[in-house]
């Protein structure tokens, strides 16, 4: 599924034109991106939370050579799915894929 499928869903389910639907989908993700860029977290109830976390620098290793190298401090984005989303992926308690 891509952005085009989301545009299509907004178009068919709500009846907005393709152009309007596309504007909405684009603006939604653009807004989410700038919000996260500013360091603010986003909470979508029923879906999950997007949070920016600061990581300290640490010593890592090149797994091929075993050389120790410093991994610089950085900001990363994490997504924590909501319980509702997690449950909807596991309908029965007796899930045996």
């Amino acid at each position: 599924m891509t952005k085009a499928d989301l545009v299509e869903a907004v178009h068919t389910k709500i009846g907005f034109s393709k152009k309007e639907s596309s504007d909405i989908v684009e603006l939604l993700f653009d807004t989410m991106k700038s919000t996260l860029e500013s360091g603010e977290k986003i909470k979508i109830s029923g879906f999950g939370n997007f949070e920016v976390r600061d990581k300290h620098s640490r010593i890592g290793r090149n797994p091929q050579t075993g050389d120790a190298i410093e991994i610089s401090a950085r900001r990363v984005l994490t997504f924590k799915p909501s319980q509702i989303l997690k449950n909807s992926l596991n309908p029965a308690a007796s899930e045996q894929s």
Binding site: D5, L27, T31, K43, R74, L77, F79
Partner: protein, 103 residues
């Protein structure tokens, strides 16, 4: 920022969009994404990131209170991978070395 604040932002940026329509659009977008994940489909939003479903095997867990060992059933979990553009943007005001040291 919450879902309702996101909806407010959409209505203020798109004047032709009213509150109720914006609400329905945002709900439709996230419920469509949830439905896709439910059937195991992967969602790829260019510049933002992708969502996929990962399988966790059954494992032995422990009730932390009593110490009793119980099986934790196999399950499917949603997984998000941040896209290149957003990863760079989020990290942009961290040290310059951090952003040039990686993709």
């Amino acid at each position: 920022m919450t879902k309702s604040e996101l909806i407010e932002k959409l209505t203020s940026d798109l004047p032709q969009l009213n509150q109720l329509d914006a609400e329905m659009a945002v709900k439709t977008i996230f419920s469509t994404m949830t439905e896709a994940l439910k059937v195991g489909d992967r969602i790829e939003i260019r510049g933002f990131g992708s969502f996929s479903v990962r399988h966790r095997k059954e494992r032995m867990g422990r009730n932390p209170k009593t110490g009793v060992i119980i099986p934790v059933p196999a399950k499917r979990v949603p997984f998000f991978t941040v896209g290149n553009e957003l990863r760079t943007r989020v990290n942009s005001d961290a040290t310059a070395a951090a952003s040039e040291g990686q993709i």
